[in-house]
C-alpha cells in the first residue's frame, strides 16, 4: 500500500533561518509514527508543514511533499479541504486551544459545517463524536464552555473535533503534555482505539514513554534534523545515535536510582565552598515533623473545601522524601505548610522539635533560613528588577554579607545605566553560590530573562542554598524542563545533597522523577496520604489501588527492561 503522507528532504525556514533540515518521513495506512525531540527540535514545525500550516513567513522546500495532494503546489482551497477531512490535527496545549467563548459542541460542529454536513445532522454527530472520544454525558458537555471542563475532557473534545470528519490521518502534537498521569493513560487509550480502527497517527511528543506505547516507528529529532529513525522497539532498545542514547539515559526512573542521568561531570565543590554552604549540624531526631495537618479553604460559593486532610510525615537529616500526586492532590499546600507560609487549619508542624506552625511570624522569621524553597517557576519567584547577582545577594543573611558588599542600592535597567566603571562586582559569597550550582561569576550580571529554563532553576537553587539551609523544599523543580536539562538539574541536586547533607522534600507529579530521587515516598490523592514507604516498596509493591493505578499508568515497559 502506498504511503498516506510522504515527505522527502523537507526543510523549513523562517525569515531565512532554517529550523528544519532535510527531514524525510512516510506514514503508512494504519500505522503510528512517533516524532520525539526536545523543545526547539523542530518536531511541531515538521508536523505543521504536512498540513500547510506554517504561515506566510515560512518557506517550505522539499523534493517531495505529498499528503494525497502535492502540498508544495496545493492551492489554499485544496489545503483547507485536506485539513480536517483527510488529516485531523490535535493541537498542542489542550488547555488553551479551544475558543473560551464558544460551547464545546459548537467548536466541534464547526468542522462539520465547514465541510458540508447538513445542519440537522450536526448535533447528533457531535454527541456521537464526544461519546466516541470517551467524554461522559456528551449532551451536557456539548453545551458547556471549555472553562467548565477539566484538562482531560478538553483534550478529548479536541480529539473529537479532529476526528469529526473521520480523517485517514490524525496528527497529535503533544496530546498528553500537562495532563495528569491517569488522564494521560486514558487519552493514550483513546488514540490506541483510533489506531485500531485503521487510522494512521503521527504522534509528536517530548516524552519517550508516550511514544513507545503507541508508535510503530519513531523519528528522533534534534536541532531540526532527524538523528535517528527506525522501528520503535529497535530505536529505544538499541539506540545507535549518541543523542538518542543520552536522551534515553536522561529519563529518570526506578532503574536510574543512584546513577547519573546526564553526562555532565559531577560537581566538585572546594572544601571552602563546602564548609561555607554546609548546613549547620542538626539536633538529633527528625528535622521537620508534620503531624495530622489539615487545610480548609472557604470557596467563593461559601462552601468549605478541605485541600489537605490529616497529613503526617517526618523528614530526617540528609534524606529525600518524595511527595507524588496529581494536580489538586494537595502536594503544594503541604509544601506551603512545611515552609511555614500557610497556617494549617488543624494539626501542627515542628521544625527541630519546636513549634513551626501556630506561632507568630516574628518567632518564625529568624528560623526561616533553615528551610529554603526551590519553586516550579523560578522566573516568577525572582524580583523582575534584579539581576542574578542581586537575587542571590538578597538571600544571603545580613550578618554574612559585609556592609561593603551589600547588594547595590539600585537595580533594574536604570541602576545598570548609572552603575559605572567604579561599581563593585558580585560579592565573594555570590560567586561561591553561583559556582556551587555550576554557573560562573559571569552570570551575576545577567538578567533572569536572558537565561534558559535550566539556568534559571540553577539560580533558584543557588538562592535557596544562600542561607545554608538544612532542608530544601522543592516544589516541582524540574517539571518545566526538557528531559536532558531535567537530568542535569537532578544530577546537580544529587551532587549538592551529597556534598552538603541537606534534606530534600521533593514534590512532583512525575513518578519516574520521584522514584529516582527519593528515599521515602508519600502518595497523595485528594488531600490525603494514601500510601507511604520506601521508594521501592511504594513503586514496586504498591498496596493502595490508587498507587497501583498510578504505577500502571506509567507507559514505559521496555525502557525499564533495557536498563
Amino acid at each position: 500500500m502506498s504511503a498516506l503522507i510522504t515527505a522527502e528532504n523537507l526543510s523549513v525556514a523562517f525569515d531565512g533561518t532554517e529550523v528544519v533540515h532535510d527531514v524525510s518521513l512516510s506514514l503508512r495506512p494504519g500505522s503510528c509514527l512517533g516524532i520525539v525531540g526536545e523543545s526547539g527540535s523542530g518536531k511541531s514545525v515538521t508536523a505543521r508543514s504536512l498540513l500547510g500550516l506554517n504561515g506566510e513567513r515560512a518557506s517550505v522546500t522539499a523534493t517531495r511533499l505529498e499528503a494525497g495532494v502535492d502540498l508544495l503546489r496545493a492551492t489554499p482551497a485544496e489545503l483547507r479541504s485536506l485539513r480536517g477531512r483527510r488529516i485531523g490535527y490535535v493541537l498542542q496545549d489542550a488547555l488553551v486551544s479551544l475558543d473560551p467563548l464558544r460551547r464545546v459542541g459548537a467548536e466541534i460542529a464547526e468542522a462539520l459545517r465547514v465541510h458540508g454536513t447538513p445542519r440537522g445532522e450536526r448535533e447528533g454527530r457531535v454527541h456521537e463524536l464526544l461519546a466516541a472520544a470517551g467524554v461522559p454525558e456528551p449532551e451536557l458537555r456539548a453545551r458547556q464552555l471549555p472553562s467548565e471542563l477539566s484538562g482531560g475532557l478538553r483534550q478529548r473534545a479536541l480529539i473529537a473535533a479532529a476526528l469529526a470528519l473521520d480523517p485517514e490521518v490524525l496528527i497529535a502534537d503533544e496530546p498528553t503534555t500537562a495532563l495528569d498521569v491517569t488522564v494521560q493513560t486514558q487519552i493514550l487509550s483513546l488514540l490506541e482505539a483510533s489506531l485500531a480502527e485503521g487510522r494512521a497517527i503521527i504522534l509528536i511528543s517530548h516524552d519517550l514513554a508516550v511514544v513507545e506505547r503507541l508508535a510503530d516507528e519513531v523519528l528522533v529529532m534534534k536541532d531540526g534534523r532527524v538523528v535517528e529513525q527506525g522501528p520503535t522497539s529497535q530505536v529505544l532498545s538499541r539506540p545507535q545515535d549518541p543523542y538518542t542514547r543520552r536522551l534515553l539515559a536522561a529519563v529518570p526512573s526506578a532503574r536510574s536510582r543512584g546513577s547519573r542521568l546526564s553526562d555532565v561531570p559531577p560537581l566538585e565543590l572546594s572544601a571552602r565552598d563546602r564548609s561555607a554552604l554546609r548546613s549547620r549540624p542538626a539536633a538529633d531526631g527528625p528535622l521537620l515533623e508534620v503531624e495530622d495537618v489539615s487545610k480548609r479553604y472557604r470557596g467563593p460559593d461559601g462552601r468549605e473545601r478541605t485541600v489537605v486532610r490529616d497529613v503526617s510525615f517526618a523528614l530526617e537529616a540528609g534524606e529525600t522524601l518524595g511527595i507524588v500526586g496529581e494536580s489538586g492532590s494537595g502536594k503544594s499546600t503541604t509544601a506551603q505548610i512545611a515552609l511555614g507560609l500557610t497556617e494549617p487549619s488543624a494539626g501542627r508542624a515542628l521544625l527541630d522539635g519546636q513549634a513551626w506552625s501556630g506561632i507568630p511570624e516574628r518567632l518564625r522569621r529568624p528560623r526561616r533560613r533553615r528551610i529554603s524553597m526551590v519553586p516550579q517557576d523560578p522566573l516568577g519567584s525572582f524580583d523582575p528588577r534584579w539581576d542574578v547577582g542581586r537575587i542571590i545577594a538578597d538571600a544571603i543573611p545580613a550578618e554574612e554579607a559585609p556592609a561593603g558588599e551589600a547588594p547595590s542600592p539600585r537595580g533594574g535597567r536604570w541602576g545598570r545605566l548609572f552603575r559605572g566603571a567604579g561599581s563593585r562586582g558580585p560579592s565573594e559569597r555570590v560567586v561561591e553560590l553561583l559556582e556551587a550550582v555550576g554557573l560562573g561569576e559571569g552570570y551575576a550580571r545577567r538578567h533572569p530573562l536572558s537565561l534558559s529554563g535550566g539556568q534559571r532553576q540553577r539560580v533558584a537553587i543557588a538562592r535557596a542554598l544562600a542561607t545554608a539551609p538544612e532542608i530544601l523544599v522543592l516544589d516541582e523543580p524540574v517539571s518545566a524542563l526538557d528531559v536532558s536539562i531535567q537530568a542535569q538539574v537532578l544530577d546537580l541536586l544529587a551532587d549538592l545533597q551529597k556534598a552538603l547533607g541537606t534534606a530534600h522534600l521533593f514534590i512532583s507529579h512525575d513518578l519516574g522523577v520521584v522514584h529516582h530521587v527519593s528515599d521515602r515516598v508519600l502518595v497523595m490523592q485528594d488531600g490525603q496520604v494514601v500510601e507511604q514507604g520506601t521508594a521501592d516498596d511504594v513503586f514496586f509493591r504498591p498496596r493502595h489501588p490508587y498507587t497501583r493505578e498510578l504505577v500502571d499508568a506509567l507507559p514505559h515497559p521496555t525502557l525499564q527492561e533495557t536498563a
Binding site: Y243, P384, G412, E435, S452, G454, R458, S484
Partner: protein
C-alpha cells in the same frame, strides 16, 4: 540540544538555548518620531529654565503702536492687543505651564500613593473605604471639582495646580492599589518571605519599587494631560491672571480677537499640542522599552 553534543564545563553549562529577548523593533519611522518629540520637550524645558536664551524680548513689554502685528521677521508669532511679542510670551509661558503640569502631577501622585498604599496594604476595611473614596473622586467631574476649589480659594497658579492634581489623583490611586495588591501576592514576595526577610524590608525593597515601576511611564503621559487641563482652566479665566504669560491664559486673551489676529491663539495652541503630543510619544517609548526589558 548543544549540551548533549558537547558536555558543558562545570562552570558554565551550555544547556538549553537562552531565550532570546524580544528584539527591539525600532523602525526608522518611530525613531524619527522619538527624536522629534525629544527635541520639542528639550526646547520647552530650555524655555522653562532659561527663557531669555530663546526669547530675549520682554514678554510683558507693551508697545501700543505695534498691536495686532501679523507674524513678521520682527515678531515671528506676531503681537497681541497691547503690542506684546507673542513668541516671547509663548517661550516665557513655558515655565508657568510646565510648573503647573508638574506640580499638579506631583500633587496627584502624592495623594494617589497615600490612598493606593492604604488600600493595597491596609486591611479589608481600610481597602473598602479607600476604594469608595477613589470611586467618588472618579465619578466627580474634574472641571467641576476645579471650579469649586477656585471658587473657594480664588484663582492662582497654586489653586490651578491643586485642582488639576486632585482631578488626576483617582486614576493614579487605582493603579497604585492594583499594583501593590498584585505584587503583594506575587511569587517573588513569597520567596522573600520564605527567606525570612522582615515585612519592612520586603515592603521597602520588593513591594514598593515593583509597584511604582509602571507609574514612571504613566507619569510621563500624565504631565501632558495635566498641562492640557491646566490650560483649559486658564482658558476659562480660572488660573494665572493676565498679563502673566501662561499658555491657557493666552488662549483666553486671543479668543476675543480671533477674527483679526489668529496668531494670538494659533501659536500658544499649537505649542500646547506639540508639547503634549511629544510627552505622549516619549511616554510610549518608555513604556515599550520597559515592557520589552524587565517587566512581564
Amino acid at each position: 540540544m548543544t549540551a548533549l553534543a558537547t558536555p558543558p564545563t562545570t562552570t558554565a553549562p551550555a544547556e538549553d538555548r537562552p531565550r532570546a529577548r524580544r528584539p527591539r523593533s525600532a523602525s526608522s519611522l518611530r525613531s524619527v518620531s522619538f527624536w522629534l518629540a525629544a527635541l520639542v520637550v528639550a526646547l520647552v524645558l530650555l524655555a522653562a529654565i532659561a527663557p531669555g536664551l530663546l526669547a530675549p524680548q520682554d514678554p510683558l513689554e507693551i508697545s501700543l503702536g505695534e498691536s495686532f502685528d501679523a507674524p513678521s521677521l520682527a515678531h515671528v508669532f506676531g503681537t497681541d492687543q497691547s503690542g506684546r511679542d507673542v513668541y516671547s510670551r509663548v517661550v516665557h509661558g513655558a515655565g508657568q505651564s510646565l510648573a503647573i503640569g508638574l506640580g499638579a502631577t506631583a500633587i496627584g501622585l502624592l495623594g494617589a500613593v497615600v490612598l493606593g498604599l492604604l488600600g493595597g496594604l491596609g486591611g479589608r476595611l481600610v481597602d473598602a473605604s479607600v476604594t469608595r473614596v477613589i470611586e467618588v473622586l472618579y465619578a466627580f467631574p474634574g472641571i467641576l471639582l476645579a471650579l469649586i476649589l477656585i471658587a473657594v480659594y480664588g484663582s492662582s497658579a497654586l489653586t490651578q495646580m491643586v485642582a488639576v492634581g486632585v482631578a488626576t489623583m483617582p486614576g493614579y490611586a487605582r493603579m497604585v492599589r492594583g499594583q501593590v495588591l498584585a505584587v503583594k501576592s506575587s511569587l517573588y514576595v513569597e520567596a522573600a518571605r520564605s527567606l525570612g526577610h522582615s515585612p519592612a524590608r520586603i515592603l521597602r525593597r520588593t513591594i514598593l519599587p515593583n509597584a511604582f515601576r509602571p507609574l514612571t511611564v504613566l507619569v510621563t503621559l500624565g504631565v501632558g494631560q495635566a498641562i492640557v487641563w491646566a490650560a483649559a482652566l486658564g482658558f476659562l479665566g480660572m488660573g494665572v491672571q493676565p498679563p502673566t504669560a501662561e499658555w491657557g491664559a493666552m488662549l483666553n486673551a486671543g479668543r476675543t480677537y480671533i477674527q483679526q489676529a489668529w496668531w494670538m491663539d494659533f501659536f500658544p495652541g499649537i505649542t500646547i499640542v506639540a508639547f503634549t503630543l511629544s510627552l505622549t510619544v516619549l511616554g510610549r517609548h518608555l513604556q515599550r522599552s520597559t515592557d520589552s526589558g524587565a517587566t512581564r
